[in-house]
């Protein structure tokens, strides 16, 4: 026997937790602290039946907090106060002693909180939370009706089961309806509120400018940059080209769109790749070097930089054909002066070093080799933290501190190439990627943002990655892309990938084409691993597996005798076209009535095993099964 009250208490806590969870990160810090405190105090209160805050005090606090946030409320700032108020009201309700009405309030507030969270984020977790929350709230509401009748009521095991069964009907029904409405109702592809004030991802990852020495730390996060669905590629070819920076001015590399330039890609290994980018991205990333790009209106620059024609408001994707490790040959005229332009001020030490190299060199190729040797001699280390902030970061990097991240390496390398008379530019993008075997795509995160150098040697742009010259390149730069993400993260990202694709960016046309594709796939189905990349097929397979499991599970619950009997009845029904065999008919009676020798043999043997003292042996089972097989082979009688 369990008290209805304690069950309700638990449900209220769970509901509150689930409702607030997706919202938590967006709350004010003060509220973030208060919430868990309220939860804990609420639990302690319920356990000891002694509450810190009385109902009157709670009402007063509610009003004060309400007023506090009401003041902040204005047209430009609507969501944040509302969300915080919701969370606070929920916290206060959890904190105090609860009556039936209060439980109802908690349930409602939880649902409001969850609903409010969709204004701020469209995370995949919303769906499971919604399902669980609906289930919990319906159970809670059913329990509340009991609680209202008699607060001291206790429920037995059987009653609880019946209650759960009843409570399960509602969410099941509403979830079915939800699937139906999913196809009909309009939807948003971005959080309604949050897209206006985009979050905090700008500080790290890919930059349109390269300016080493501005920040002491470059703490890149593991936030998603983009996903690229393609076959698995060699690690050292994983350069995702984003932009090309060709102008160096006061330690800042920026981009000038090259006008008169044409080039040709030859050789290399061709790959096709579909890239999924979050909304708002201004550059399109491609496996280096891209041949062409489809599925989006783009602007292609001469130096293989693709930009969307219009900024995209929602998550989008495009297909790229690229040629890995290919050579990029300059075709005809090229304005070398942009790639040789030097900033007004170049530190003397760097200039000296570069001139020294230029003096020893007899060709651009040897200049590069000598420069690489110089970098190695300097014993530079790859590091992203505690870097000196100075006016001459490159000088500091090369000769004093000798620590820096890719921007330091690339900037100084390109600068010294230019000083030595070799045209050069920086390429910004990403290096590496976490291959998700489940979904067959690369997950590229912000921390993989990278800058490398392209140098013009004998009319061919060579890719040089100076970061590899760091003494600890093996352990930091490359290890980064080899370090596998935890399994849970990978599976989570896989689910989120399909959530984005199937739900957030869902549109009718796409759905139709999926259905068409599925039909086509099923029509000429061949066992090819690539086919399994189709999400629709996953769903079909999952449903099939569930069905099979269920059937098997249901079947296994029957005893051997029941299985044999069921088979016997089926066979007899089929053969003699009987609709139903009454339960009051014995087996032998049935066999005699049908005057069927096989039936009689089965009945006699079965009866002997079922009603006598004998134990079932394997031989008996086999014999029964043989009789059944014979029975089943008979054609239905006319």
């Amino acid at each position: 026997m369990i008290k209805v009250k304690s069950t309700l208490e638990l449900l209220a806590l769970l509901c509150g937790l689930l409702g607030v969870m997706p919202l938590y990160l967006y709350l004010d810090p003060a509220v973030q602290v208060l919430l868990p405190l309220a939860f804990i105090l609420g639990i302690i209160g319920a356990k000891s039946d002694h509450y810190l805050v009385g109902p009157k005090l709670a009402t007063v606090i509610s009003f004060i907090l309400f007023g506090l946030y009401l003041v902040q409320l204005n047209l430009a700032n609507v969501v944040s106060p509302v969300v915080n108020i919701l969370a606070l009201l929920l916290a206060i309700r959890l904190l105090t002693e609860k009556s039936g009405r209060n439980y109802l309030q908690i349930f409602m507030l939880s649902i409001f909180c969850l609903a409010a969270s969709t204004l701020l984020t469209l995370h995949v977790a919303f769906f499971p939370i919604l399902v669980v929350l609906i289930f919990l709230v319906t159970t809670g509401l059913v329990l509340l009706t009991f609680y209202n009748q008699d607060p001291g009521m206790r429920l037995g095991k059987r009653q609880r089961r019946a209650l759960l069964g009843t409570a399960a009907i509602l969410p099941l029904g509403s979830l079915t309806l939800m699937i139906f409405f999913f196809f009909l109702l309009p939807r948003t592809q971005f959080p309604l509120w949050n897209f206006l004030n985009p979050g905090t991802t700008a500080e790290s990852g890919f930059n349109e400018k390269v300016s080493p020495g501005i920040f002491a730390n470059n703490a890149a996060s593991r936030n998603l940059a983009f996903r690229a669905a393609c076959e698995q590629l060699p690690v050292d070819s994983l350069y995702w080209r984003g932009t090309v920076l060709n102008r160096l001015e006061d330690n800042v590399w920026t981009r000038v769109e090259p006008r008169y330039e044409s080039s040709r890609i030859t050789g290399g290994r061709q790959v096709n790749c579909t890239i999924f980018l979050p909304s708002g991205s201004r550059y399109l990333f491609t496996p280096d070097r891209p041949l062409d790009l489809q599925g989006l209106r783009t602007q292609k620059d001469k130096d293989l930089v693709y930009k969307p024609y219009r900024p995209q408001k929602k998550d989008f994707s495009y297909e790229v054909r690229s040629s890995l490790n290919s050579s990029l040959e300059v075709n005809g005229r090229i304005n070398r002066s942009i790639y040789l332009a030097l900033p007004r001020r170049v530190p003397e030490s760097i200039r000296q070093a570069a001139e020294e190299i230029a003096g020893q060199s007899d060709s651009p190729q040897s200049t590069i080799t000598l420069l690489e040797d110089f970098f190695r001699r300097q014993n530079l280390t790859y590091s992203t933290s505690n870097l000196p902030v100075t006016a001459n970061p490159l000088e500091e990097f090369l000769f004093n501190d000798k620590r820096g991240y890719c921007e330091y390496f690339a900037s100084s390398f390109a600068l010294m190439l230019r000083l030595a008379g070799v045209p050069s530019r920086l390429v910004g993008g990403y290096h590496g990627g976490e291959y998700n075997q489940l979904g067959g795509y690369y997950l590229v995160t912000d921390e993989m943002a990278h800058v490398w150098v392209e140098a013009l040697v004998d009319d061919e742009w060579l890719r040089i990655d100076p970061s590899r010259l760091a003494t600890n390149a093996e352990t930091t730069l490359l290890a980064r892309s080899r370090r596998p993400l935890p399994l849970m993260t990978r599976v989570g990202d896989f689910i989120s990938y399909y959530w984005t694709q199937a739900v957030i960016t869902y549109d009718m046309q796409k759905q139709f084409s999926t259905i068409r594709d599925t039909a086509k796939t099923l029509k000429d189905f061949k066992v090819e691993p690539q086919r399994f990349k189709q999400p629709a097929l996953y769903v079909v397979a999952l449903v099939a597996i569930l069905l099979i499991f269920r059937t098997l599970h249901g079947y296994r619950k029957l005893s051997l005798q029941e299985k044999l009997l069921n088979r016997f009845h089926r066979a007899v029904r089929k053969r003699y076209k009987l609709n139903e065999i009454p339960e009051s008919t014995g087996l032998l009676e049935l066999a005699n009535r049908l005057d069927d020798d096989d039936c009689r043999r089965f009945a006699e043997l079965y009866a002997e095993l079922a009603y006598s003292r004998l134990e079932w042996t394997e031989a008996d089972k086999k014999q029964l099964q043989e009789i059944l097989k014979r029975l089943e082979q008979h054609k239905p009688k006319d």
Partner: protein, 314 residues
């Protein structure tokens, strides 16, 4: 089945021989009679005269090698006419007990409902206790002992219908029914077979019958079938037309009769069909119908109860 039970083979031979040669078309009632014999019970035949009740009893007694006694019940029949009485022997100057017809192994009590209740109860007590006490002395009845009583259900004048408590002492009640058409014609053309009965040779000894009775007691009845019998009994008790259903004794008899039926099928375990076979003959006369439904046939009510109870299959 164990081979040492010669009684079984011989009993089946009795049924076979009688049914094929002397009592054509009466195999059902013949089986029930043998079941009653094996289950140490008694048989009540309810049918109109002239359908071969007496012939059946005679033929059975011959084939089974049992001594046969017969009482024609009338309203002036006295208990001593059944049990016997002591007669003064002048030469020896003492009373000598002269055994009545009850001291036979197979007793046919014709038209038992014509006897007055006092006589009826004397006979029924003898049936139940298998002993007779006359003038302070107790005499054991012979083994095996079985009564086949008949009563005419249509003839109501000057009868003392057996009360339910007395009916309860009969293990099996059955009618005989008319023989099938062709058979009846043949019987009409050939005449009765009463005179052929003398030709029937005993096919089994009393010892074998007693051995068979012991074997019947050993027949296995599984728990699920005990439950089945219980559900039948319970079903009659809950039936809306029934005032009082099958008693515990009725259920015990049903199990015993089912054991005997299984034994006759050469099985040492009971199957549901055995129970279904004996349920109505054993159970029907034990039902007491509610007054407004008294005109219904008890057999049909019990049959409907049985048809609504699921057979245990596991």
């Amino acid at each position: 089945m164990t081979p040492e039970l010669a009684g079984q083979a011989n009993l089946l031979k009795v049924i076979d021989t009688l049914a094929s040669r002397y009592l054509q078309g009466k195999i059902r009632v013949l089986r029930l009679a043998v079941i009653a014999l094996l289950a140490e019970g008694h048989l009540l035949l309810e049918d109109i005269p002239g359908l071969g009740k007496t012939t059946l009893a005679l033929a059975l007694s011959r084939a089974l090698g049992l001594s046969f006694g017969r009482i024609q019940c009338t309203s002036d029949l006295l208990p001593s006419d059944i049990t016997g009485l002591s007669v003064y022997n002048r030469e020896e100057n003492n009373f000598r007990f002269i055994q009545g017809p009850v001291f036979n192994q197979l007793l046919l009590a014709d038209e038992v409902n014509r006897a007055m209740p006092k006589t009826q109860s004397a006979m029924l007590e003898a049936m139940e206790e298998k002993r007779v006490t006359v003038e302070g002395k107790t005499y054991l009845l012979p083994e095996p002992f079985m009564v086949i009583a008949t009563q005419n259900p249509t003839d109501q004048t000057g009868t003392y219908p057996l009360p339910e408590s007395q009916l309860d002492r009969f293990l099996i009640t059955s009618d005989i029914g008319y023989p099938p058409e062709e058979l009846e014609k043949a019987i009409i053309s050939k005449g009765g077979i009463r005179d052929q009965l003398d030709d029937i040779q005993p096919l089994i000894t009393s010892e074998e019958i007693l051995a068979a009775r012991r074997a019947v007691r050993e027949v296995h009845i599984s728990d699920s079938l005990v439950d089945y019998i219980f559900r039948i009994a319970k079903g009659t008790r809950a039936h809306p037309y029934v005032l009082s259903g099958i008693s515990t004794r009725g259920a015990i008899y049903m199990a015993t009769a089912a054991r005997a039926a299984a034994f006759l099928q050469r099985r040492d375990y009971v199957i549901p069909e055995d129970i279904k076979l004996v349920a109505v003959p054993v159970g029907a006369h034990r039902l007491i119908l509610s007054p407004q439904h008294e005109t219904l046939r008890k057999q049909e009510i019990l049959q409907s109860v049985v048809e609504n109870i699921s057979v245990p299959m596991l």
